[in-house]
Structures are given as structure tokens and as C-alpha cells.
């Protein structure tokens, strides 16, 4: 709870550092082990915002582009670039702008959104499962199911069709619509 309040408080500062976190932890009386582990992983990085849940984590998310911490730790040359960033941006070369970006972020939007081709794996697995299902159903039909009832044979099916035509089943759009009653045969 104390660590969460610290994270909330730090949100209002443009860039906090680890020392301020430690100072506040000392003032609150005790450093809980969860916070200590987090501080270790944090290293020298700036905490630059709240992130998506208040934790000082980094992840490239196209739907939440501002992680809570910078990507790379602060080194002297990065800090020098940051100082230069405070002046006129037209004086920054394109390499310096790119270096500043890569210090704060791991991938560009183009890189993080690049298609992975994972859909091919999913499609392949789906088709494999379909094929297995067809194999199994054929095997079931050949070995497991009881034989067809007698009403499935040719003679019985003809009798059923004759009954349906005489009773004029679907006479407008369906079965009997295709039967020529005068000449007793199928319409062309």
C-alpha cells in the first residue's frame, strides 16, 4: 500500500529516480521486500509516468503507448542528450533523435505491430484437427455404427419419393414443383 502511494505520488513528477523512492521508503518506516525487488530490477531507469496500472513496468503496447519507465538505464551520454533535448530541437541530428527514442523505448510502432505470421500456425492446427475428425468419422461409419435400417434401401426410398410426390410436398418451390403430373416424369 505504501509502495502504491509512492508510485501515485511519483506520477506528478516528470522524472523520478530511485533515490527518491528509497528516501520515501525510509521515511515510511520500512521497505517491504516487494518494493526492494522492484527497485533492484529498476536499476538506474527513470520512472516517467503511471503506466497502465501503477507498476513501474515496461512493455510495448500499441493501445497504451506510454509505459511507466524508460527502457534503458541512464548512462552519461544519454543524460547528455537529455540536456541537449531541453534546448532547440532543430539542433538535434537525426541520429541523436533516434538515440533518444531508443533510450526511452524498445521498439517503434512499426516494429511492434509487424505481422508475425502466427495465423498460419493456427490455421494449420485447425485443419489438422478437421482432418482427424474426418478420419475418425469414417472409421466410426465403417466399424462402429449399426447397419442402416431397412427404410434406407433403394426400394423403400422409391416408395417414399412416390408418396411425397402424390401428396404434393412443396409444390411451388420444392420437390413437387419439379414433377410433371400430366406426363408422370420430372420437368426438364
Amino acid at each position: 500500500m505504501a509502495s502504491r502511494m509512492m508510485a501515485l505520488a511519483l506520477r506528478h513528477q516528470p522524472a523520478a529516480s530511485k533515490t527518491s523512492l528509497i528516501v520515501r521508503a525510509a521515511h515510511s518506516g520500512s521497505v517491504n521486500p516487494h518494493l526492494a525487488e522492484k527497485l533492484e530490477k529498476l536499476g538506474n531507469r527513470d520512472v516517467v509516468g503511471f503506466g497502465w496500472n501503477g507498476e513501474p513496468t515496461y512493455y510495448d503496447r500499441p493501445d497504451f503507448p506510454m509505459p511507466a519507465i524508460r527502457f534503458k538505464e541512464n548512462t552519461p551520454d544519454v543524460l547528455a542528450l537529455r540536456a541537449k533535448e531541453k534546448e532547440d530541437w532543430k539542433k538535434l541530428s537525426i541520429q541523436e533523435k533516434k538515440a533518444l527514442y531508443r533510450a526511452s523505448f524498445c521498439q517503434t510502432f512499426a516494429e511492434m505491430k509487424y505481422p508475425t505470421g502466427e495465423w498460419k500456425m493456427h490455421l494449420g492446427n485447425t485443419l489438422i484437427v478437421f482432418a482427424l475428425a474426418i478420419y475418425i468419422s469414417l472409421w466410426m461409419a465403417a466399424y462402429i455404427y449399426d447397419p442402416d435400417p431397412i427404410s434406407f434401401d433403394e426400394e423403400h426410398q422409391k416408395a417414399q419419393l412416390k408418396r411425397m410426390l402424390t401428396l404434393e410436398v412443396n409444390p411451388i418451390h420444392g420437390l413437387s414443383a419439379n414433377w410433371d403430373y400430366e406426363n408422370k416424369r420430372w420437368k426438364k
Binding site: T166, L167, E168, P171, I172, H173, Y181
Partner: protein, 74 residues
């Protein structure tokens, strides 16, 4: 490099407006095509069938076939 200024406010409202127009157009097209390509021909087909339909002859056919359990076959 200068591109046009993107729309910064009212994004949901403009999205809703666009979606409403698209939905209206699609619905109109689908409904009119269903009416004229499916419903009207079906109504005509039913009218044609029943214009010259002789139900007594049809019933006699069914009785002669022996398929009426409640009527004696003569």
C-alpha cells in the same frame, strides 16, 4: 514534412456518425434487394400456382394413390 492536422476532439461522435450513415446505407440496400429479388418473385410464384389449381383433382390423386387413411379407396 507537413501533413494535415489530425482530428483531436469529438472522435467518438464522428465515428458514431459515420457508422450510422454506413449502417443506414447497407440496411437500405439489403432490404430493397431482398424485397425485389426474393419476396416479389415468391409472391408471384404462389399466385401463379394457385390461379389454376384444382384441389379436388389433387385430392382424388392422393386417394387413388392409397395414401389417405381416412378415406376409402374406390
Amino acid at each position: 514534412m507537413s501533413i494535415a492536422k489530425p482530428q483531436l476532439r469529438g472522435l467518438l461522435a464522428s465515428q458514431i456518425k459515420k457508422n450510422l450513415i454506413v449502417a443506414g446505407v447497407i440496411v437500405t440496400v439489403l432490404v430493397t434487394s431482398t424485397k425485389f429479388l426474393r419476396n416479389e418473385p415468391r409472391k408471384k410464384a404462389y399466385a401463379e400456382f394457385y390461379k389454376n389449381y384444382d384441389p379436388d383433382a389433387a385430392f382424388q390423386r392422393m386417394v387413388d394413390g392409397g395414401y389417405m387413411q381416412c378415406v376409402e379407396q374406390r
